[in-house]
């Protein structure tokens, strides 16, 4: 198709007679292409804004989802640690029924002592605490608790300084943590350092 015929066709479509019928294609006189270009610019601008907003939204969403489980001090966990230290175990060191409480059993475990029932203090501690945690913090998909982690260790440090010596006594874990964490620490004075009982509970 010839160039002139093309121009005639466009003019016919837009309802404008090509009075001059010359070979020059005048964009300004027709004005449709200028308008179309402006609309295109507006659409591109709008799409750009939408894309920027979506990208920022996605970035914030990813940032929010990637956050580490929130860890906070829990009064319930603190109470559990505090009261469990007074629990009467089945380990007696001198005579029965002078049974050790859990706090003394932890100290006896650190001293590697043996109970009168022929069990080592650490073995008794492990058995008692595993059962106690299982009964107190039911870990399953039906309960709010999804996991727990207990760590007992001895730490020797001077004021304001990092730990000089650390010695792990017991570590108990159950379940997989995915939600928020609540934890507490209990200190048992054992000169020249401290025995630290750390419990973390994970809520689904």
């Amino acid at each position: 198709m010839l160039k002139e015929e093309k121009i005639k066709m466009i003019n016919k479509i837009i309802g404008k007679k090509n009075k001059k019928a010359n070979s020059r294609f005048d964009f300004d006189s027709i004005n449709i292409f200028a308008k179309s270009k402006r609309s295109q610019h507006e659409i591109v601008g709008f799409i750009l804004i939408v894309i920027i907003v979506v990208v920022i939204g996605l970035f914030l969403l990813v940032l929010y989802l990637r956050q580490e489980p929130v860890k906070y001090e829990s009064l319930d966990v603190q109470n559990f640690l505090q009261v469990s230290m007074d629990y009467t175990t089945s380990c007696a060191l001198n005579f029965e029924p002078e049974y050790e409480n859990l706090q003394d059993l932890i100290k006896s475990c650190y001293e590697n002592r043996k109970c009168l029932n022929e069990k080592m203090a650490c073995q008794e501690l492990n058995e008692t605490l595993s059962k106690m945690l299982d009964e107190s913090w039911l870990v399953s998909s039906d309960t709010p608790t999804s996991a727990y982690s207990l760590l007992i260790y001895y730490e020797e440090s001077e004021a304001g300084e990092s730990a000089l010596r650390e010695n792990e006594l017991l570590k108990l874990e159950k379940g997989n943590c995915a939600g928020s964490k609540a934890g507490a620490e209990h200190l048992i004075s054992y000169s020249p350092g401290n025995i630290i009982v750390n419990l973390e509970i994970c809520y689904a």
Binding site: L75, F80, V83, S84, D86, Y87, T88, E96, P97, E135
Partner: protein
């Protein structure tokens, strides 16, 4: 004439735009109100829960419950307190109050304590108003009692929970 039509179109366009903006803001406001309202009801329950927890902690340290240490409850004292008529108005605003043994728990079942089966039981109900749909809050305690072995009396302490019930505040 053509100009007027164009202006009318522009005014129409703007009015539609304004309408859309107003509708959008109304929707956003409704969304925020809904979120806030939901949070408010949750907050009220949480406050009530915290209040009950502090009541529990105070109760565990009263002379009627305490074994002498913080968060330590004397099981023998509680057995004497069970169903005591003189304490009827004492437990307000709680709707129920019980002490449950958690560990060690034989047969994994809770058996209500009576003078006949004590201490081979796991639950002591001190007070219960039988309120339907009450919210229950529990706090860990150590449950101690005197035990006898080889003609020697010693303190046997077990892990327990003191559970208090309270009425849920309905928002609105």
């Amino acid at each position: 004439m053509k100009m007027r039509k164009k202006s009318q179109l522009k005014i129409q366009e703007m009015s539609f735009m304004l309408l859309a903006v107003v509708l959008f803001f109304i929707l956003v406001a409704l969304f925020f109100i809904a979120v806030k309202y939901r949070g408010l009801s949750k907050e009220a329950t949480l406050i009530e829960q915290e209040k009950t927890l502090s009541i529990i902690a105070k109760l565990a340290d009263t002379a009627e419950f305490s074994c002498g240490k913080p968060l330590c409850v004397d099981a023998d004292k509680i057995m004497a307190l069970k169903d005591k008529q003189a304490y009827e108005g004492f437990w307000q605003p709680l709707t129920s109050l019980s002490v449950v043994k958690i560990f060690p728990l034989e047969n994994q079942t809770h058996i209500e304590c009576s003078l006949g089966n004590y201490p081979d039981c796991s639950q002591i109900t001190i007070y219960d108003e039988n309120v339907k749909g009450e919210n229950r809050v529990g706090s860990f305690i150590i449950l101690c009692r005197k035990n006898n072995k080889n003609d020697y009396f010693y303190n046997k302490c077990e892990l327990g929970k003191i559970i208090a019930g309270f009425e849920i505040k309905q928002a609105g």
